[in-house]
Symmetry: C2
Subunit: 123 residues, 2 copies
């Protein structure tokens, strides 16, 4: 792709990822997909959100390591085409935590809609 268009795309794709949502996104994707590796997650998020949300590697990899350290994820290292892939999947604890995080996120979204879209609220 030409550099100019890449620049344009960069600017367009600069939609904010609200802090705290990354872990929930990771957990949810793993719940759906079974297992994924880091790079795959970044691409999947781009695809699902049509380029709106951009997961940076500097955020993703530390997050994966932390989730693993916290016992929510298991890793399996695989070599494909002479390159490493680290496949992550939910542990049992991870599955339970995913339910909680999703409930929290949905609650947050509901709350935000009450604030932002007050015609839905009672008062």
């Amino acid at each position: 792709m030409h550099k100019f268009f890449m620049y344009i795309f960069e600017v367009m794709a600069n939609s904010k990822l609200y802090k705290g949502s990354l872990n929930t996104i990771i957990l949810k994707l793993l719940e759906e997909q079974g297992k994924m590796y880091g790079y795959e997650i970044t691409q999947k998020v781009k695809a699902l959100t049509k380029g709106e949300l951009h997961i940076t590697e500097g955020a993703l990899y530390p997050a994966l390591h932390k989730l693993e350290a916290g016992g929510l994820l298991d890793v399996e290292v695989v070599k494909v085409d002479n390159r490493l892939r680290k496949y992550y999947k939910l542990t049992e604890a991870g599955e339970k935590e995913t339910v909680n995080r999703l409930a929290e996120l949905e609650e947050f979204i509901r709350s935000m809609q009450q604030l932002v879209n007050p015609n839905w609220s009672i008062d």
Copy 2:
């Protein structure tokens, strides 16, 4: 209220405020209400979200000061019952910025729903 029940309430009300959303909440409330003071904002958010979202003072006051310093808010100090109130309202720049922030937030919510609620997505 008894300390035990306050504790219980504290725990219950511990729903996460995703980082980055506070400024947008402030701007949106001011857009709706015209003018508000800090303490009023904390109470309004509690009321609108039925206790789900809890804006801490340690986050709110610095945020208000920064929005003011950035030219998005104007202040008016009023003495009521021998106590100070600092009423904030949107400047013209603040009104414009509110539109942008709300659009960003709605875009974020849309993206999250695509991720969390994939039955709405195309693929």
